[in-house]
Symmetry: C2
Subunit: 184 residues, 2 copies
Amino acid sequence: MTLRADSARVRAQMLAAARERVRAGDLDLPMNAIAKDAGVGVGTAYRHFASRQALLEALAAQSLGALVTDAEAAAADPEPATGFATLLRDALRLLRDDPTLALVLASAQPACLDATTDLHARLGAAVTTVLARARAEGVIRPDVDADDVRRLICGVQHAVDAGTDAGAADRYLDILLAGLRAAR
Amino acid sequence: MTLRADSARVRAQMLAAARERVRAGDLDLPMNAIAKDAGVGVGTAYRHFASRQALLEALAAQSLGALVTDAEAAAADPEPATGFATLLRDALRLLRDDPTLALVLASAQPACLDATTDLHARLGAAVTTVLARARAEGVIRPDVDADDVRRLICGVQHAVDAGTDAGAADRYLDILLAGLRAAR
DNA sequence: ACCTGAACACCGTTCAAGT
DNA sequence: ACCTGAACACCGTTCAAGT
């Protein structure tokens, strides 16, 4: 039992140390340095997180979970068009608040944690529902699926990140919404 | 004089070795490995390219130059709306053909080569002209400047890269054009 | 003058040795 | 069982030593 508690503590310390670096604007996440920050040996760090990518996914899991929740709420919105717009707005806000989410969500590679795969699947299902409802009302172009939405919102985040303009996020989101609304 | 010729040969060999790695899908560009590929010592490699970033910018210079040429042609297009659409289409094509261009164009950091800074400046001027003419005809939203266009097209490239769908590029470009056309 | 490659500081990851 | 940290293979960059 103490082992279990210890293990959980190490995991929490690793995540806290990593998040502290992310908060400081450093997305490198070097395992050696984070292990030292957390006060554990490198080997222990690797027993908890099989790779740098696994640590990254664990960091992003909370934001990704929040996005899933938002998407499922959007899928239940009485007004399909509102649900769709809210989904994109929430996604961009979460992406901007947590830079690790952008790395995990934009990745074309398969996830290395099962939890990430599961969250991705739930997200895809919810977004598909949001799109189906919006499409049924004719408020979005028909040639866009859930994966397109994932890629496009990550693209908007990338564009926002490529500069320092404070108002860019709202403007780019507006451009994307207008582009998706437009008739084919 | 032979020194000059030698120097040019080393530079060309470095660029060829680097481009070969890029062609093979590897964007890491490790100086040590590329120096070895090119048959020169690491020190010599660094005498020609002050840093990895300098090598990257040198690689991207050709594509960036082509983009400038395209943008200047677009600025002279008799039909402003056509010039604008052509510019975005050409930019995305160049970004997709040369992955190093995306890295250099999307960077929020200042360039490390003067040549890159110059090309960026010429690009900005040409795109500003394209936008001014399109705006005067009322065919694009007025709250978008040349830097927004740079960031947005890099965002589209990022979205295209985040998946494997063959038709994504054309679709995403169409979405961006529709979004920019839409009235405010 | 220009080149070379050993060297330094780093980083991801592994594993023999300890408790 | 679990932990540690030395060790390996790497990479960016520098610089003393050669030509």
